[in-house]
C-alpha cells in the first residue's frame, strides 16, 4: 500500500511538473503599482481620459537607507491616456510602461466633474467586474482638472495618493466631507428610494516656498456661515504668487448624484447635516453664539451622535421625522460668560440643536431642488411601508413626492462635560 502511495505521489509530481507552468507567475518588480487613477470624460471627443499615478518603489525607503539620499527623486510618475472606454484607456497605459500596470493596490479613484455629470455607469462596471479592483475603493469627485489634480504634492505623506487615502481612511476625525466608498455608492445607487453621493477633493494651490503653511480655516458663525464655493473667498485672502505653484489636496464637501449623474455639490457645513443623519460624524465642532448674548462664541464638540428616520404614511401622504441625538463637550469659549448655570446649558444645547437643524435643512433644500434623495427617505418608506411604495410609479418619488415631502427634524443635544477648566482663564478681566 505504501509503495502505491509513493507511486501516486510520483504521479502527482509528474502531473505537476508537466502541467504546472507558472502562467500567473510574476514578480513584484514586474508590476507598475498604480496608486491613484484619475478619470475624466472629454465630451467633445467622447473619450475617457485616464491618468494614473504610478509609484517607483526604488525611490522609497530602501534607497534612502543605502545612499543617504533624502528621496530627492520624485517617487510618482503620471501617465495620461485616452480611450473610448475606461478599460480601453487603461490598456493604452501599458504602451508607456516597462511593467504591467497593476491596479490591485490602487485605493484612490478621482472622478472628474464632467464624467460624473455624464453618468457614473460609464465606469462602474469596470470597477466591479475585474478582480484587480475592490468594492472598498475610495472614489472621489473633483471639480478641478483631474490631470492637474494628480500633479499635486503632499503635505504629510510620501505622495499625493497616499495623502488622499489617509485623509479618507482616518478614523479619529470625520466631518466636512462625505463618507462613502465605491460599495456605499453602488449600494445607494441600486437601492430604489435612495441616491448616492461621494466625497469631494479639490486642489489648493500654494507657493512651493511655504509648503508648511497651514491653510486658513473657515469659521462658521451663528449657524450662518460664510458660504465659500471651491475656496474662492479664501484664495482671495491669500498672498498670491503666480509662478511655480504647487497644489495640495483638500477634501471638503460632498458630491450629490441624481441616480448616477452628478447633481451638485454640498459644502463642508452642509455635509455635516448629511453626516449627522448618517451617524458617521466623528469629532465635529459646532460654533454657537454666547448664550447670554455677550460678545464672543462658544465651540461645542460632538462626541457621539445617533439618528433615526421615522416614517409614517397618513392618508396616502408620507411623513418623515428625523430624530438626531447627539452629545458632546464644551471645547472653546471666547466670551466671558459663566456657562455653568442650568439655563445657560439649556440655551447652549438649544442653539446647538438649531445649528444642526440648519445644516440638515440646507441639505434638504438643495437636494429637493436637485430631486435627489441622498438621505434615503424613500428607502425607509419602502422598508416600512412596502405596500405604499409598490403603488408608486417609477420616478414619481424623486420628481413629485420628495420635493414636497413633509420632513420634521428633531435634534436633541446634550452637553456632558466641560473639558479641563470651568470658567475661562480671562473670566475676571471681562466681567
Amino acid at each position: 500500500m505504501k509503495t502505491r502511495l509513493l507511486f501516486l505521489c510520483l504521479l502527482t509530481a509528474y502531473t505537476l511538473l508537466f502541467t504546472g507552468g507558472c502562467w500567473d507567475q510574476g514578480e513584484l518588480e514586474e508590476l507598475a503599482l498604480v496608486q491613484a487613477i484619475g478619470i475624466d470624460y472629454l465630451p467633445q471627443e467622447k473619450k475617457f481620459e485616464v491618468t494614473t499615478s504610478i509609484i517607483r518603489p526604488g525611490e522609497l525607503g530602501a534607497g534612502g537607507m543605502e545612499g543617504g539620499i533624502e528621496g530627492d527623486a520624485e517617487p510618482m510618475r503620471l501617465i495620461t491616456t485616452r480611450g473610448k472606454t475606461l478599460s480601453g484607456a487603461m490598456e493604452q497605459q501599458n504602451a508607456f510602461l516597462s511593467r504591467r500596470a497593476y491596479y490591485a493596490h490602487n485605493d484612490v479613484v478621482i472622478v472628474g466633474e464632467k464624467l460624473a455629470s455624464q453618468g457614473m455607469h460609464l465606469i462602474l462596471d469596470r470597477l466591479t467586474r475585474e478582480r484587480d479592483t475592490r468594492l472598498t475603493l475610495n472614489v472621489f469627485v473633483t471639480g478641478d482638472n483631474v490631470k492637474e489634480f494628480l500633479r499635486g504634492g503632499s503635505r504629510l505623506e510620501i505622495s499625493l495618493p497616499q495623502e488622499i487615502r489617509q485623509m479618507k481612511l482616518r478614523t479619529n476625525q470625520r466631518s466636512l466631507r462625505g463618507e462613502a466608498n465605491l460599495l456605499d455608492f453602488i449600494r445607494n445607487l441600486l437601492q430604489s428610494g435612495q441616491d448616492p453621493y461621494l466625497p469631494v477633493v479639490e486642489m489648493r494651490e500654494e507657493t512651493p516656498t511655504s509648503p508648511r503653511e497651514a491653510e486658513i480655516g473657515e469659521t462658521g458663525k451663528d449657524g450662518k456661515r460664510e458660504n465659500e464655493v471651491n475656496g474662492e473667498n479664501i484664495n482671495g485672502e491669500k498672498e498670491e504668487s503666480t509662478e511655480n505653484k504647487v497644489g495640495y489636496p483638500k477634501m471638503y464637501g460632498t458630491a450629490v448624484f441624481r441616480e448616477d449623474r452628478l447633481a451638485g455639490f454640498l459644502d463642508g457645513y452642509e455635509t455635516k447635516g448629511l453626516l449627522y443623519v448618517e451617524e458617521s460624524l466623528i469629532d465635529s465642532r459646532e460654533t454657537i453664539n454666547d448664550p447670554e448674548g455677550k460678545p464672543g462664541e462658544i465651540v461645542l464638540i460632538t462626541i457621539d451622535n445617533s439618528s433615526r428616520i421615522l416614517t409614517e404614511v397618513v392618508n396616502g401622504k408620507p411623513r418623515i421625522t428625523v430624530k438626531i441625538e447627539e452629545e458632546g463637550d464644551i471645547c472653546c469659549q471666547t466670551s466671558a460668560t459663566n456657562l455653568f448655570t442650568p439655563e445657560n446649558f439649556r440655551r447652549m444645547e438649544q442653539s446647538k440643536e438649531e445649528v444642526i437643524k440648519g445644516y440638515v435643512k440646507d441639505v434638504l433644500e438643495k437636494t429637493r431642488k436637485w430631486e435627489t434623495d441622498i438621505f434615503g427617505f424613500g428607502n425607509k418608506i419602502k422598508q416600512n411601508h412596502p405596500g405604499y411604495w409598490e403603488d408608486l410609479e417609477k420616478g414619481e418619488w424623486r420628481e413629485e413626492i420628495y420635493p414636497k415631502l413633509e420632513v420634521e427634524i428633531q435634534v436633541e443635544s446634550n452637553i456632558r462635560r466641560t473639558g479641563l477648566i470651568e470658567r475661562p482663564p480671562f473670566y475676571e478681566y471681562y466681567q
Binding site: 501516486l8 502541467t19 504546472g20 502562467w23 475592490r134 425607509k380 412596502p386
Partner: protein, 373 residues
C-alpha cells in the same frame, strides 16, 4: 480492510463538508437571484428540506437493516434492475464529481489565477484527490474531522470581521418576495442540502448506525446555519441587488474585509483555504464513493483499481461538459435541483415505498431500526 468503521462524529463532519464545501461559495448568489432580500428564508426552508431528505434516507436504511444504498436497491428491485439503477446512480455521482471539479477549477481561474489553463487545476486536483481516495474511507473521514473545524473557524472569522458593517434595515421590507420565488430559492439550495443522502452510502461503515440520523441532522443544521448566516450577512453588507450580481458572493464578501490597522485586509487567501480544503475532501469522498459503488455494482472486491480510470473520466468530463462558466452556472441553478430531486428524493422514496411488502415479511429489523429513532 473489510472492517473500516467510522464514528458518528466523523460521519457528521463528512456529510457537513459534502454539503458545505461548494455551496457556501456558489449558492448564495443563485438563491438571491430567486428570493432576493428574503434569501435567508429560502435557506431555512432548504435546510428543512435537507432534513426531510435525511429522514427519508435513514428510514430507508433502517428498514433494510442498515444496508448501503446499492445493496438496498438490489434487494428491493431484484438483482438486475438494482444493478441497472446502480449504474444510473454511478452516472449521477460522475456528474456530481465532474461538476464539482469544474466549479473548483473555474473559481480558481476566475478569482485568483486567470491566465492558468483550467485543465491544470482539474488534473492536479483530481490526481491529488485520488491519492486520498486511495487510502480509504477511514482516512477521508479523519481528514474531514480536521478540515471541518478549520473551515468553520474561517467562516466564523469572516462573519465576525465584517460584523461592524451589518445594516439590519437592509433586510426590510420582510417577505415582499413572492412565495414561489422563495420556494424556488429553497429548491436551489436543496440541490446541496439534499446531498445528505450520501448518508445512505455510509451506513455499512458506521460504528453506531443508530446514531446516523442524528449525525445527518446535525450536519444539515450546521450547513443550514452557515448558509443562512451567510445569506443574512450578504444581505446586510452587500445588500440585495448586489448579492445577485456577484458570481461568488462569499468572495465578494471577504474582499470587503478591511481592517487596515490590524493588517487584516485583502484576506482573500481565506477563501482559497476554505474552498480548496472543502472541495478536496468532498472530491475525495465522491471519488471513493463512486469507486466502491462501482465495485459493488460489478461485484468486484477491490474497489481501488477503479480510482485511476474514474479520475481520468472525471477530469475529462469536467473539462468537456461545460463550455463556459455561464453554462456551469446555469447548470447549477436550473438543472441541478431537478437532478437532485430525481436521484436523491424520488428514487429513494420509490424504494422506500416498494420495500413495504418486503418489510412485512421480515419485519423485525425494520421495527428495530424504527425504534432506535
Amino acid at each position: 480492510m473489510q472492517t473500516v468503521k467510522i464514528s458518528t462524529y466523523q460521519a457528521a463532519t463528512l456529510l457537513t463538508i459534502t454539503m458545505l464545501a461548494t455551496s457556501i461559495l456558489l449558492v448564495p448568489s443563485n438563491v438571491a437571484s430567486e428570493a432576493g432580500r428574503d434569501a435567508w428564508l429560502s435557506f431555512i426552508l432548504g435546510t428543512l428540506l435537507g432534513m426531510l431528505t435525511a429522514l427519508l434516507a435513514a428510514a430507508l436504511a433502517q428498514k433494510h437493516g442498515n444496508a448501503g444504498f446499492h445493496a438496498i436497491a438490489e434487494k428491493v428491485m431484484g438483482s438486475l434492475p438494482g444493478k441497472l439503477l446502480g449504474l444510473l446512480y454511478l452516472a449521477f455521482y460522475l456528474l456530481l464529481t465532474a461538476s464539482l471539479i469544474r466549479e473548483f477549477a473555474s473559481f480558481m481561474a476566475t478569482a485568483f489565477m486567470p491566465l492558468t489553463p483550467i485543465s491544470v487545476f482539474v488534473l492536479l486536483f483530481t490526481v491529488s484527490c485520488i491519492c486520498t481516495a486511495y487510502l480509504g474511507l477511514e482516512v477521508i473521514a479523519r481528514l474531514s474531522e480536521i478540515v471541518l473545524p478549520v473551515i468553520v473557524f474561517f467562516l466564523l472569522l469572516i462573519l465576525f470581521l465584517q460584523s461592524d458593517q451589518y445594516e439590519l434595515s437592509a433586510l426590510l421590507p420582510l417577505l415582499r418576495t413572492p412565495p414561489e420565488n422563495i420556494l424556488r430559492g429553497a429548491f436551489v439550495f436543496w440541490g446541496w442540502s439534499g446531498q445528505v443522502f450520501f448518508l445512505l452510502l455510509l451506513y455499512p461503515y458506521l460504528e453506531k448506525p443508530g446514531q446516523a440520523l442524528k449525525a445527518s441532522l446535525i450536519a444539515v443544521s450546521i450547513v443550514g446555519f452557515f448558509l443562512t448566516a451567510g445569506a443574512f450577512s450578504l444581505e446586510t453588507v452587500l445588500q440585495y441587488p448586489l448579492t445577485e450580481r456577484t458570481v461568488f458572493a462569499l468572495l465578494a464578501f471577504v474582499r470587503l474585509i478591511n481592517l487596515t490597522g490590524f493588517l487584516l485586509e485583502r484576506v482573500d487567501a481565506v477563501v482559497i483555504v476554505i474552498w480548496v480544503a472543502g472541495a478536496f475532501v468532498k472530491a475525495s469522498f465522491m471519488l471513493h464513493i463512486t469507486s466502491i459503488s462501482l465495485a459493488q455494482v460489478f461485484g468486484v472486491t477491490e474497489s481501488r483499481h477503479f480510482l485511476l480510470p474514474l479520475a481520468a473520466l472525471n477530469s475529462a468530463l469536467s473539462i468537456f461538459l461545460f463550455e463556459s462558466s455561464k453554462e456551469l452556472e446555469t447548470f447549477i441553478h436550473f438543472l441541478w435541483p431537478i437532478i437532485t430531486l430525481f436521484f436523491l428524493v424520488l428514487i429513494p422514496f420509490l424504494l422506500y415505498f416498494l420495500s413495504f411488502p418486503a418489510s412485512k415479511r421480515s419485519s423485525a429489523p425494520g421495527n428495530k431500526g424504527g425504534g432506535q429513532q
